[in-house]
């Protein structure tokens, strides 16, 4: 009796082994294998179509670390973008969440409004903001003129020193509402009793935030910071939509740079760039995780 039962179990288990096969097959063949191949390509000077190529060792990596101004420019822009977007989007997301965490009719409506941009495609958002930033009669300059603040008018993306910060503003407009939702979930998980206890101890608004909200919302903060970072590294579509293809150098970030290198048929070099890109994201994410752990303790 018990032997037939375990026999049936074993048969059952055997059928189960087929379940992950389609996913693993697709994933290993179309994703893992190419990622590993990127390592191999990065050590060559392959142009993407010639039958032969030379092994160049680590020369692609030394080139992008020392002798490539366009890559250094993209790293610089990307870091500026990431720092600005992470700070602004985290602060704004938390502020909106704090003010909309209680469910009323007004806050439900406002949450829906702030979340709306997130559902749009990056190219759509980019086109909206092309008009907002258009120096000749675009939305921002028209509004500024209408309220008599002509002196604040600007060329926005046309100024290479500040273009990347206007890109950051667009990115924050795009995704702050999504981060607000993550923060609201985090805030709702904080037990109300803690606030009541703090109030009984005479804690004011600021003290309650500092000693209850901030440490307890830390898991949500960690998610928001990590996700926002990755988003700002992948703002590829937004840059191409705002600035054209290939993008204006003032808006060139790592993902667009890799794509441009690829489009110029420097396959080996583009593969090296993408590996550095991957390592850089991993590094920044790790540094952040440590910093958040320390800041919220």
């Amino acid at each position: 009796m018990s032997s037939t039962r375990s026999g049936r179990r074993r048969r059952t288990a055997r059928a189960l082994w087929f379940f992950p096969v389609p996913a693993l097959a697709l994933y290993l063949f179309f994703f893992v294998y190419p990622v590993l191949q990127a390592v191999q390509y990065s050590l060559t000077d392959w142009d993407g179509y010639s039958a032969d190529y030379a092994d160049v060792g680590l020369r692609n990596f030394t080139r992008l670390a020392t002798g490539d101004d366009t890559f250094a420019n993209a790293v610089g822009n990307n870091l500026k973008l990431t720092v600005t977007v992470v700070l602004a989007q985290t602060a704004l997301g938390l502020l909106l969440a704090l003010w909309l965490v209680r469910t009323t009719r007004a806050s439900t409506l406002l949450r829906a409004v702030f979340f709306l941009p997130t559902v749009l495609s990056s190219v759509s958002v980019a086109f909206v903001w092309r008009f907002v930033y258009d120096p000749d009669g675009g939305l921002l300059n028209s509004v500024l003129r209408a309220v008599g603040l002509d002196s604040l008018q600007s060329v926005y993306l046309g100024n290479p020193d500040t273009a990347v910060f206007w890109l950051a503003l667009t990115q924050v407009w795009f995704h702050a509402g999504q981060m607000m939702v993550v923060f609201i979930a985090g805030l709702q998980a904080i037990p109300k009793e803690l606030y009541e206890a703090a109030e009984l101890d005479g804690a004011g608004r600021f003290a309650r935030f500092r000693y209850v909200t901030w440490p307890l919302v830390a898991p949500a903060t960690a998610i928001v910071v990590a996700y926002t970072t990755v988003q700002s590294f992948k703002a590829f579509d937004l840059v191409l939509g705002l600035s054209g293809n290939p993008p204006n150098p003032a808006l060139d970030i790592l993902s667009t740079r890799i794509y441009t290198t690829f489009s110029n048929n420097q396959f080996g070099y583009a593969a090296a760039q993408s590996l550095v890109f991957m390592a850089l994201i991993a590094l920044v994410t790790r540094v952040q995780r440590r910093a958040i752990g320390r800041a919220t303790r």
Partner: protein
């Protein structure tokens, strides 16, 4: 009432009003703009259209080729969402049901892709798909979208499937149910909310994807919406009303689903963010 809380009481509605305007006004300008001529848009960007015209939509579809692109996007998105949900839920079921290390190992391998940005693999992926004749094809886009979103889907579905108590499966096994039966008639109905959440996340990702169409698609008739839209900026440069019509056509399906299924939608996009 002390002074700080009175200031806060005033700042909050003011801040909310300004923030809501910053979100809504550009979108309103875009929607109104689709019914305007270019001079009218520049004259009064915030005003409703004085004599609404549908010319911009007509031009976007006829000159910009958005009709065909819309259809391509629908095919690619539907194919990729369904394929991803199917293979991801099967794999996640295995991971949840397989006792011990094997289940976790497979889960770990499939989820490891979350840490790898799509750009890391584009060069060899392009070469691989090109050799298989899959670059300039909708099937190629379905496959590449599937593997790109697979880690997130397995992650979300795996989390839900692990919450199904083992006793339920054991009872089904005692009744002689095969794993496929247990999967279809026990697991799938139980995780329907997770399938909806994941499906919406995949829908938004696949519908809005620009990277792979840009890499893979060469011919006009295989363009998806984001790619056709991107081509607008070269063709129509600053003909904003036309660009705006493109924006509305490309965004309409997602916005409609958002309005209809708001709760699942927010949950889906948030689950996509929380995975990391």
């Amino acid at each position: 009432m002390n002074r700080t809380s009175r200031t806060v009481k005033l700042t909050r509605p003011l801040f909310m009003a300004v923030a809501a305007c910053v979100v809504v006004l550009p979108l309103l300008v875009v929607v109104f703009g689709t019914f305007k001529t270019l001079p009218e848009l520049f004259d009064a960007p915030l005003a409703p259209p004085s004599s609404p015209t549908l010319d911009n939509y007509r031009a976007a579809v006829e000159d910009g080729g958005l009709g065909a692109a819309f259809l391509n996007s629908a095919i690619v998105t539907a194919g990729a969402v369904l394929l991803t949900l199917a293979v991801a839920s099967l794999a996640a079921f295995f991971c949840a049901r397989m006792p011990g290390r094997v289940g976790w190992a497979v889960f770990g391998v499939l989820v490891a892709g979350l840490a790898v940005p799509a750009q890391a693999a584009i060069v060899p992926q392009y070469v691989l798909f090109d050799r298989l004749g899959l670059t300039d094809s909708l099937l190629g886009l379905v496959l590449v979208d599937t593997v790109t979103t697979l880690p997130t889907a397995v992650f979300i579905l795996g989390g839900f499937l692990r919450t199904v108590p083992d006793e339920l499966y054991e009872a089904a096994e005692l009744d002689g149910a095969s794993p496929l039966r247990a999967f279809r008639s026990l697991a799938l109905p139980l995780i329907r909310p997770a399938l909806a959440t994941t499906g919406i996340f995949l829908f938004v990702m696949d519908w809005n994807d620009l990277l792979y169409p840009l890499l893979f698609v060469r011919s006009q008739e295989n363009r998806t919406l984001p790619l056709a839209l991107l081509d607008f900026q070269g063709e129509f440069l600053t003909r904003y009303p036309l660009l705006f019509a493109g924006v509305v056509i490309a965004s309409a399906p997602v916005v409609v689903v958002y309005v209809l299924l708001q709760r699942q939608f927010v949950a889906g996009l948030t689950a996509g963010a929380v995975r990391g």
